[in-house]
């Protein structure tokens, strides 16, 4: 089953990381991702810009457009992994492994996928490539 592993953390804290701290965390996460990729279990991975870059569109009615994230919370949704897991236990194991690599506080929310489309984005341009 495919699981979305949603990463929540305090963006003000992760935003105060030094470049060295950031590099250490990313290198450790990449190592876990590599392992998952080699096992054929790694789907798309995304890291989101801070919620200050977010815009929220309300459905229905006037379809209000609001600056900022959908919910004001202490921890913010900072990114996600899509990972193939044989069981919930394996998903929990994987999240724990990511958590050890990332350190710090925050939480991972594990959400089994109901539907999945790999997408058709061409000439993908994002600031950071995860494949490197």
């Amino acid at each position: 089953m495919l699981y979305a592993i949603l990463c929540y953390d305090r963006e003000d804290v992760t935003g105060a990381w030094s470049q060295e701290q950031e590099a250490v965390v990313m290198a450790r996460l990449h190592a876990v991702e590599d392992k998952l990729a080699n096992a054929g279990r790694l789907g798309p991975v995304a890291r989101l810009l801070p919620t200050t870059a977010a815009t929220t569109v309300r459905k229905g009615g006037d379809q209000l457009v609001i600056d900022g994230p959908f919910a004001e919370t202490k921890e913010q949704l900072l990114g996600f992994f899509i990972i193939d897991c044989a069981s919930l236990d394996q998903a929990i194991e994987t999240a724990k492994e990511l958590g050890r690599a990332n350190g710090g506080e925050g939480a991972y929310e594990l959400r089994p996928l109901l539907a999945y489309q790999p997408g058709t984005v061409r000439d993908l341009i994002v600031a950071d490539s995860f494949s490197e």
Partner: protein, 413 residues
Amino acid sequence: MTDLAWIDAALTSSRPQAVGALLRWFRDLDTAEEAFQDACLRALRNWPLKGPPRDPAAWLIMVGRNAAIDQKRKGARQEPLPDEQLISNLEDAEADAAERLDGAGYRDDVLRLLFICCHPDLPATQQIPLALRVVSGLSVSQIARAFLVGEAAMEQRITRAKARIASAGVAFETPGPIERAERLGTVAAMIYLVFNEGYSAAGARRAARAPLCDEAIRLARLLLRLFQTEPEIMGLAALMLLQHARTPARFDALGAVVLLEDQDRRLWNGRMITEGLALIDKAMRHLQPGAYQVQAAIAALHVRAARAEDTDWTQIDRLYATLERFQPSPVVTLNRAVAVSKVRGPAEALAMIEPLGERLAGYFHFFGLKGALLDQLGRPEEARVCYDRAIALAATPAEAAHIRQHLDRLSGA
């Protein structure tokens, strides 16, 4: 990441909120800073053992407040408050404090803290160090290094600034909407000053001042989290991100200036560009243009061009015309003339800047541009006079070296 690294980041990111709240309680900057310092020391002892609290800022505020009250009571009445070991177990108390902090009060606390650093009685040379010390928590020695002064001199400068604030008095009542907007504008200007202290540095100062750019961007993000719907704050953050993104390409290996059109665009920081473009897009939806948004839009046009020759100079010319209305200044007109020279040729650009000669008589870039325009118009003798003047006015060896290249080429021709 190690626990200590996380704690360090948590203390840094909690600082504006915590010191801001403590300042509201104690109404004295030194007491607030000492209380925060005290709380940080306790956090370093306590968090590695008991695990960090869910809301570090709320914990630091409570512990800092108790420590300071305790300090004040010492000698008078020995009645110690519960220590932080107990407090971090009081989940309810922490949640309660966090709840209160999430209200509008917290927003005004941070804004007040930033605002007192831009007190009109303080010259910029004191505002910036004070903000870096009080809000960002940089050490005095770090700040002294950035400003190329001794540590003792910087300590004195900060102490003097604090004394001036204390004697001027600070408004602690919750500001009304108009006053809040004014504070926001003043604070935004101060943050951009911090950024420019870092961005305009060259040569040996560059390494020491580079952290100022990152710090200014962090402060702008902080402000934007508090005022999510302010297009000018989005514009300010975007402007700084888009400018700072070009930093890795702005100087060559020898430290000489590399002009925008000659920069290796692959060196630009993609992450900052992405965030900057996202923010300027958001800002422009509001249809409330301002000086930061216009400047960010100009910076966005530069980074959107894959090659220098792809730059949309027509649009940049238009944006500078808008900026001239928001922020009339000979320097803005000078910048516009660069765009005009690309769109309508050097003659028109020269005609545009010639009236500025008197006001920009001491400005390096005026003579650099005027020399270049005369050069393009095939008037080498007059160009040479301008280039000579520019070299005399150069603030850094890198600036002078850049102009000398033009002179050498003229001599060779």
